[in-house]
């Protein structure tokens, strides 16, 4: 019985744990969870009571009875043995007594004596035995009753405890009961509601049973015009159809694989797209969204849905055009609303590109960028990427007419912005550029055009400003405040580099000759004179130490050269405004160019700035190394990626006969090797253009996009080879 009881307890415990688990699973429902936990706690208590009960039973019955059986019965058995022995002796004596012959008087006497003695002894023992039996009898009764009593009292405590426990629990149970009633009523009501809805929907659906959601809403608050499932045809060779959740939001067509996934952007700007039916395909209900870069084949579930989608896309395109002007603020707000916030924080960088809106937002944040750089009109939506300024649409038109060697115009909303270009825009800005290009405007009494000015007036001003550079301070602008801090540092770094990493004697010599006259001056002093000379001192031309006498062209060139190394974009812009030749060659430093300096400086944005301003990506120094060589040697993966995108020739060999690839292989830099080989393969593929689409091309673009994103957004990821490099050198 005890064993069964124990098994019962164990089973009970398991049940309890089950309840606990259930409580844990339903931890979203507070009511269920708390009540379940409470009940299980109480039941737990009950089980522990039960266990004690069984313990006691064990002790009272089993233990006591056992002692009784063991001790008393043994005593009794002893007595019994003794009695039997004595009775045997008596029998023997009787027998002897009977055998004795009459004539032997002596023997008769002896036998009679023995018999009497034995008989006496027997009587004694028999009496004892009877006593023993009586004692045992009475003891047995009491013992059994006693243990039964204690067993019963254990039960009594058990049930008593149970009663106490449950009477404590009772109010709660009553409460819960009431709540349950209420819940039941609610559930019934809900069910009724649902049934009602169900029937109404069924009635509605009588007409078209498969119409899921046909409505699209252009002004939807969350920016989602329409969403739903569509089949998308994969762009690889398999052309697999996959069902994806598509939505149109913020002028983009995006889809998600799973609900929680970050959306993948199919079409970045619907304005650049067309949508059309597609009948020449064996699947039904297909339509195609065609953007300048790709086309995407989609399939709806029904003809009606297809119509709805096509209409929704068309309407979105139309609204997007209308919104372009004044409603854009609203759009911006939308894009930062939580429902679409996932677009920005997407962890899937492959397909994600910076959208027009966010480029606009980022660039307009920069000082002075909130109004047009040339006429001051608010909310400029165009930009000149080589100058790093924002423009209104009219001024951007004038900039275009200047030619790309003066200004490269892009739309902040319609164009796709590569991350490095966006960074470039954020490093410059109207404030910085106007301090350079409009330095003398007030002094010369020239009136800057207003938003309402005539086009001719604006055009004349813009020409004077950027082509003739009339308002640029002839001598280095005294207004622009030099920042001594950053300038001192990079120079000493540069010196370190010249004497350290560049091991050629030529480089060391040239660094000497460049700053020879101040050689005895302290380094800091030298640095400060250098910076003040190049920026503020009007009569600096004569004592400018790094520049040999006469050349007026050389000075801005050198300024550009040095600023490129120091990653100082405003300085570089100023040097260019002063007429610096972007491909200026420093004859004294290996015939390096500003672009090579920018590579050595390690900044991606400076490289991009120079490239946008016409720097030759393939100019090689005296050792036959171009920017791509240098970036490879230094392990600057982001720069390698940029140069390859900008058409760098990777087949050129330096004086040691090494091309960038062999340098990268030697350095075992997997990222750069991959980029170089991929670009090589892409070249080959392009040369032998196939009949079908080129998957190599797409992968190539994907991988380069990956690396561009990484270089601009998490450059530390690309630095994994940097360490081993520095250890080697």
């Amino acid at each position: 019985m005890i064993d069964t009881g124990k098994a019962f307890c164990a089973a009970n415990k398991q049940f309890m744990n089950g309840i606990r688990d259930l409580a844990q699973y339903s931890n979203k429902d507070l009511l269920v969870e708390t009540s379940l936990t409470k009940f299980s706690d109480n039941l737990q208590e009950m089980i522990s009571y039960h266990t004690t009960l069984f313990d006691q039973t064990q002790r009272s019955i089993k233990a006591q009875l056992q002692t009784f059986v063991k001790e008393d019965i043994r005593k009794f058995k002893d007595a019994k043995k003794q009695f039997e022995k004595v009775s045997e002796e008596k029998e023997n004596a009787l027998a002897k007594n009977a055998q004795v012959q009459r004539n032997k008087q002596h023997e008769v006497e002896e036998a009679t004596n023995i018999l009497t003695a034995t008989r006496k002894c027997f009587r004694h023992i028999a009496l004892d035995y009877v006593l023993q039996i009586n004692v045992l009898q009475s003891k047995r009764r009491s013992e059994i009753l006693k243990s039964m009593l204690s067993f019963m009292s254990a039960h009594l405590t058990f049930f008593h405890q149970g009663y106490d426990l449950f009477s404590e629990l009772k109010p709660y149970m009553n409460d819960l009961g009431a709540q349950l009633d209420r819940l039941g009523v609610d559930a019934a009501k809900e069910k009724r509601d649902m049934e009602q809805k169900h029937s109404t929907i069924q009635q509605k659906q009588d007409f078209s049973s498969d119409d899921t959601k046909l409505e699209y809403n252009v002004d939807a608050a969350n920016g989602i015009v329409m969403e739903g499932y569509l089949f998308k045809r994969a762009s690889n060779a398999f052309k697999t159809w996959n069902r994806r959740w598509f939505s149109i939001q913020n002028n983009q067509l995006v889809y998600q694989k799973k609900f929680k996934d970050n959306p993948t952007v199919v079409v970045e700007d619907l304005r650049l797209c067309t949508v059309k039916h597609c009948e020449d395909i064996e699947r039904r209900f297909c339509f195609e969204v065609v953007s300048p870069t790709k086309s995407c084949m989609l399939q709806a579930d029904s003809e009606k849905l297809r119509q709805a989608w096509i209409k929704a896309v068309q309407t979105s395109i139309a609204t997007a055009y209308r919104e372009k002007g004044d409603e854009s603020e609203k759009l911006e707000k939308k894009s930062s609303s939580p429902s679409t916030g996932s677009l920005e924080s997407g962890s899937e960088p492959k397909e994600k590109l910076l959208k027009g809106e966010s480029a606009l937002q980022q660039v307009q944040c920069i000082a002075g960028n909130i109004t047009c750089c040339d006429c001051g009109l608010a909310d400029p939506r165009w930009a000149s990427i080589n100058l790093g300024i924002t423009l209104c649409i009219e001024c951007s038109g004038i900039h275009r007419s200047l030619g790309v060697h003066f200004s490269k115009v892009r739309s902040l909303t319609l164009d796709t912005w590569e991350p490095e270009l966006l960074k470039l825009m954020c490093e410059l800005g109207n404030g910085v550029i106007n301090r350079i290009y409009e330095a003398k405007v007030e002094r010369m009494g020239v009136k800057k055009p207003q938003p309402g000015s005539q086009r001719q007036e604006k055009e004349a001003y813009i020409r004077a400003k950027y082509v003739e550079r009339k308002f640029v301070e002839r001598q280095p602008a005294s207004v622009s405040p030099p920042e001594p801090g950053p300038k001192v540092l990079p120079l000493s770094q540069e010196e370190k580099r010249l004497s350290g990493t560049e091991k050629s004697p030529l480089a060391a010599r040239s660094s000497d000759s460049g700053i020879q006259r101040s050689a005895d001056d302290s380094r800091e002093h030298l640095a400060s004179t250098l910076s003040t000379n190049s920026l503020c001192e009007p009569e600096g031309e004569k004592r400018d130490p790094p520049v040999p006498r006469d050349s007026t062209q050389l000075r801005p060139g050198l300024q550009l050269y040095r600023a490129a190394y120091k990653k100082n974009l405003p300085d570089m812009a100023e040097a260019l405004a002063h007429g610096a030749e972007v491909n200026w060659v420093n004859a004294e430093e290996n015939k390096a160019t500003p672009l090579i300096q920018a590579v050595l400086g390690g900044s991606l944005v400076t490289c991009e700035f120079l490239l946008q301003n016409g720097a030759n990506v393939n100019h090689r120094d005296v050792k036959g190394r171009g920017p791509l060589h240098h970036a490879t040697v230094l392990g600057h993966t982001g720069q390698v990626c940029l140069f390859l995108k900008r058409g760098a020739n990777q087949h050129a060999a330096d004086e040691d006969g090494k091309d960038p690839l062999s340098i990268a292989v030697e350095a075992a830099n997997a990222d750069i090797v991959t980029l170089l080989r991929l670009a090589r393969m892409n070249e080959e593929m392009r040369e032998s253009e196939g009949l079908f689409g080129q998957p190599g091309d797409e992968t190539y673009q994907d991988i380069f996009r990956d690396f561009s994103q990484m270089a601009s957004n998490n450059p530390e990821k690309l630095n994994r080879f940097q360490q081993s490099d520095s250890q080697k050198s």
Binding site: T240, F692, P695, G696
Partner: protein, 216 residues
């Protein structure tokens, strides 16, 4: 300037993956250039090579991506697998660990490659008979279980190298041509009789690949 070699009907991207030192690069060089190098160095990043073969009277150009097996020589990009329609998961029959790791490489394909990618398990270095550590039957049944085709090759003595590449390219071609949907070229109505994309033969697992075990 397009020579005869440059004309092709299909271009398939195939990736070679597997542990370092199993002979991926030599499989590639044997197939594309009929070369073998006993002392080849570790691949850094990725290497490419192409070769065109005839499949069902069509010219199929294979663009083969030979990736680094060693982790520190792999570039940070999941794009190795992007656009790939075939993958050779290579191990060394004389090194059991490289076979065990095949599972890890399969996982990598699952995570990054197209779900329909055709995968072949390749036990390379079959010439090392006296050093064999992976029984053919074991690898074969593993391949069957995972719906992969299977072959043992030797880049050193050329055994089965052609067969391996040919059969995976033929398999890809079979799937692609059956799936091919109009719109790419000429919207021929004849082809619109094919209504559904092909039914992949049932496999033991998720029915992704067609098992077509090669006999060795």
């Amino acid at each position: 300037m397009r020579g005869k070699d440059d004309e092709y009907d299909y271009l398939f991207k195939v990736v070679l993956i597997g542990d370092s030192g199993v002979g991926k690069s030599n499989l590639l060089s044997r197939f594309t250039r009929n070369e073998f190098n006993l002392e080849s160095k570790s691949t850094i990043g990725v290497e490419f090579a192409t070769r065109s073969i005839q499949v069902d009277s069509k010219t199929v150009k294979a663009q083969i991506w030979d990736t680094a097996g060693q982790e520190r020589y792999r570039a940070i990009t999941s794009a190795y697998y992007r656009g790939a329609v075939g993958a050779l998961v290579v191990y060394d029959i004389a090194k059991y660990l490289t076979y065990e790791n095949a599972e890890r490489w399969l996982k990598e394909l699952q995570d990054h490659a197209d779900a329909n990618i055709v995968i072949m398990l390749v036990g390379n270095k079959s010439d090392l008979r006296h050093l064999r550590a992976v029984p053919t039957d074991e690898a074969k049944s593993f391949a069957e279980k995972n719906g992969l085709s299977f072959i043992e090759t030797s880049a050193l003595d050329s055994t089965n190298v052609e067969t391996a590449f040919h059969s995976i390219l033929a398999e890809i071609h079979r799937i692609v041509s059956q799936r091919q949907i109009t719109g790419q070229q000429e919207p021929e109505f004849g082809s619109s009789t094919v209504i559904d994309p092909i039914k992949v033969l049932p496999t033991h697992q998720e029915g992704k690949q067609t098992p077509c075990c090669q006999n060795i």
